[in-house]
Amino acid sequence: MIKATIHKALNTAVGSMKLNVQLSIESGQLVTLYGPSGVGKTSILRIIAGLLSADSGQIEVDGVFWLDHEKKIDFSPQQRKIGYVFQDYALFPNMTVRENLEFALEKGQDKNIIEELISIVALDELQNRKPNTLSGGQQQRVALARALVRKPKVLLLDEPLSALDIKMRSKLQDYILKVHREYKLTTILVSHDIGEIIKMSDKVYCLEDGKVTKVGDSLSVFTDNRLSGKFQFTGEVINIESEDVVFIVTVLIGNNVVRVIAQESEIVDLAIGDKVIVASKAFNPVLLKV
C-alpha cells in the first residue's frame, strides 16, 4: 500500500503551479496518472523516487515512511525500493545490454536476477549488443529489465512507450503487465493514451493544474459508464475488410482477435491502429464450459 500526500510549488512553462495531491494505491495495483503536459505528473514520480524534494508531505510504502516532512524523514533514492523507466531509455551507450543490467546490481547481489530478467523480457539474442544497435522497443525492454534488477517494490514508468509505434507499444504493454504481475509490483504509470490506460490500469488519477480532478477504474472514468452494454472490451483495430453490403472489422483485444460486422457509417472514422470499445448486451454471449 502506498499512501502519499504531496505539496510542492512548481515552476512550469506556463507559470507557477501548486502541486497538491493525495494518492492511495493498493499493493499490486497498476495506477495511471493522466492529464495534459505540465500538470505535475512527472514531478509526482520524481518526488516518490526521491529525485525531487517536496515542500511538505508524507510518503508511506507498506507501513514505512519514505518521507515525512514533519518528522524530518527523507529517504535517499537508493534507500527507496524503486525502479524507474524514462521515456528516453537512458541506457549506457558504451555497455552491452547485459552490462547495462549488471551495472544496476547492488554490491553483493545474486547475479541470477540478470538471467531471469533477460529471459522474461526476451533479451537472450540481444544481450551482447550495444544499445545503439537496438530498436526503440528493444531498448525500452532493456530499460524495463534494468529498472527491475534491484527487485523494487514500486515501479515508476514515465511515458515509457510514447516514442514507440503502435505495434511495439502493444508488445511493450504486455511485457510491462507481465513483470508487474510476476514480481507483484505496485506500478505507477504516466500515460496520455486512453486505450493503453484502459488496457493496463486498475485505477486512474486524472490531474489538472496540480490537483486530482477524478479518480476511478479506468473504464468508468473514460467511458463514464455511458453505454448499457455489459459485454465491453477495449481493443485495437487491426484490419477492416469490405464484405458484401457490410464490413468486417478485426479487433485485437488483449491476446484475442475478434471480428465484428460493421456498417459503412461505423467505419468512416475508423483506421487501423485505432482503439475501440467492442460492446454487446449481456443477453447475447453464450457460455461453454471448457
Binding site: N225, R226, L227, S228, K230, D244, V245, V246, Q263, K281
Partner: protein, 133 residues
Amino acid sequence: MNVFSGHISDIQISKNLSMVSVQIDERIELKTILVETPNTASYLKKGSAVDVLFKETEVIISKGDPSFISIQNKIPAVIKKCDSGVLLSKILLNTAIGDIVAIVTTEILNALVLKENEEVIVMIKANEIMLSK
C-alpha cells in the same frame, strides 16, 4: 448501428434487471431490457435523454400481420431502398422516427420479394437494444 434519441418514459425494475421504455416521438416508444438498475446506472431515471442503439443485423422485417410474434418493438415502415449482395442485403426503411437500416440474407429478401415502396413492419427484440447517455 441504428441510433435514435429519446427520453426515458418508464422503468420497471426486478432485482438486477430493468425494462426501460424510451419515447422517441409522440407515437413510437421502444422498450429495452438491461442488466442495470437506477442504482448502478445514474442515467436510468424518468425524463433522462438517452440514445437507443441497435445493430442492423438484429432488425426483423415482417410483411404481414406481426401481432402474434413475440417481439416487443414493432414500427411501421416503408422500404426505401434494397441493396443486394451475394449473401447479405441491406434494406433502408423509412419510419416515423427516421430511417432504419436492416441487414438480412439475400435469400430471404428474394423469398419475401421485398421491394421498394412496400409497407412492412420493422421489429427489434427488447434484449437487442442498448442505451447510451
